[in-house]
Symmetry: C2
Subunit: 338 residues, 2 copies
């Protein structure tokens, strides 16, 4: 079985994000937003059948762990009340996709984060998504300010309430920023990758996983810059008298394979223990074109794993085994869907 | 000849940065700073003989392109007047090192940048350093706010006055942030690498090098996350209808080899054209320890280049040829020093 642990609903019916614009406009104008628009099952089905599902079939993957569009989370827009309403709307929509295609999609939620508002604010929605909607994880934005990095580092006790709930529910978090409203940072080309690098370095400097030994994070986009600079990170940890990274972080931190060329994937699988690598493509996502050097889509990351000179059993870990370990609720979902 | 194009004076006599603290304290207290402390040639000589020069000899490199301590630039501290005085002091100190060891060090200056103050403010100091002190390049901080990214992207016309002067003087700039005052960003582990990634992505989105076809930048630390995500960057440029990166940026943008493990250097030299790679170690810098996996210093990057399976002529390009092209004033300096 081939599980893609990182997909966003980037193709949702237009009225979904159209309403979001109305909601934020209403917030700015201090008026009430219009009611949420309706979406038929057929409308949703069409966006999936011609989008993610089509690509799953073409590329030979079986299941996508699916969450709301990352850039659409927009935690820097509106206030906590707007974020709460929008999160529920986005997560409910993911559930509809998962209910329509239970063999192909399992849900992960976004959280109603807001800069300067305690993440304790997010525990209720996480619990609802896991217990009522059957979701198996969450996305956690390390920078709800959208590129100005105004909240404390992820190792600060500020974040502990959401970690306590994640541990209680036994769900992992993908550390994933949303859109950048800082003109210095291109979204998918700088803010995403910087967010990944920043989070990993935050984890190095502290002892978060002493407090939460079973807390698990996925750092997407191949871990940002981290595997390429693995010597730097090993050396920095050593200078700080931290344990080797394998002991310090790799029981809790995982990297996905959203790296869009073979040499990058080769580096990733060479320097990071294979037990810490989870298959993912983020399709349809940041990079949608065809690589003229290969004739294939940049984000068809399965081809890169297929091309690796590692034993089939190791590939199966990346495609399935590791993901089932990191998302323990996935097993029950799969049994249900059969 | 083996030229290290990225070294900072991280071992300056203590009174140098001691005075900087007094200067900033005086700024905060709205009083006058004390006069600059004296430093004897012997004091300076000692910090070099037991630091950079010792490592040059041990590692078998010949010359370091040398600039003030990057984290010490502190463009977010004080105001424009303080930055001007501090820049002159730092650059003058670099000149003293270069005069004491003309065979081993050639100067690159820091610029008196300040958030929100036009880089036109920096042209005079750049000209002084090049024409009077014999420097061959500058370091340009893309984020003088120290981790809050408050100034426009490097492709904005805001920066054009300093580019005009760089072009006029035919000197390249290394895009190098200073310390981070944002608690989210570890300096050498996040802010440095993010700065590199961010700058490269800024260059992709615009057409800066149409306006300045001879302007040259070095992106240090192996280009941040860029080579690891080369497929992503090629794909993003393609989605934006930009020319292939080779044509769009690689006549103007170069990467150094400050990547502290062999797999990273192998990736760099595999995906980035060898003409765009410049040897560097940033010793004594961010990572000072010995890698237990190799028994050698993490930042002894010459060993990684030595270990590559590429022709000797290509290694010589990385060690010398490319650097002389990017720093055209270096030839005259070397002739002088003989």
């Amino acid at each position: 079985m081939i599980i893609d642990c990182h997909g966003h609903y980037t193709t949702a019916p237009k009225q979904h994000e159209g309403w979001r614009q109305q909601q934020i406009a209403a917030f700015d104008a201090k008026t009430a937003p219009p009611p949420r628009p309706g979406m038929t099952d057929d409308e949703i089905r069409e966006t999936i059948v011609n989008g993610q599902l089509k690509l799953q079939k073409e590329r030979g993957t079986d299941l996508t762990i699916f969450s709301p569009r990352a850039a659409g989370m927009g935690h820097h827009l509106g206030g906590a009340a707007e974020s709460a309403v929008w999160s529920r709307a986005c997560n409910d929509l993911i559930q509809r996709v998962c209910n329509l295609f239970p063999q192909n999609f399992v849900g992960v939620c976004m959280l109603p984060q807001t800069t300067g508002v305690s993440p304790a604010n997010c525990t209720e929605e996480l619990e609802r998504c896991v217990k009522e909607l059957g979701f198996i994880g969450c996305n956690l934005n390390p920078d709800p300010s959208g590129g100005y990095w105004k909240d404390p580092p992820l190792t600060d006790r500020y974040w502990y309430p959401i970690y306590e709930k994640m541990v209680e529910l036994d769900v992992p978090g993908m550390v994933h920023v949303s859109a950048s409203c800082n003109p210095c940072f291109h979204g998918t080309g700088a803010h995403y990758i910087n967010g990944d690098t920043t989070a990993f370095m935050q984890f190095i400097t502290a002892d978060l996983f002493k407090d939460f030994p079973t807390l698990r994070f996925i750092i997407p986009h191949g871990g940002g810059a981290v595997p390429y600079h693995w010597g730097r990170y090993r050396g920095l940890a050593q200078d700080m008298k931290k344990p080797p990274l394998k002991d310090h972080l790799l029981k809790n931190v995982y990297f996905d394979t959203c790296v869009y060329h073979l040499p990058g994937i080769e580096l990733l699988t060479r320097v990071i223990p294979l037990d810490n690598i989870l298959f993912a493509s983020e399709m349809l996502g940041a990079v949608r074109g065809i690589d003229p050097e290969t004739g294939n889509n940049y984000d068809d990351t399965k081809r890169y794993i297929d091309a690796l000179s590692i034993p089939a059993a190791d590939k199966q870990k990346i495609f399935e085994g590791n993901i089932k370990k990191v998302f323990p609720r996935l097993g029950a979902k799969l049994a249900q869907a059969r």
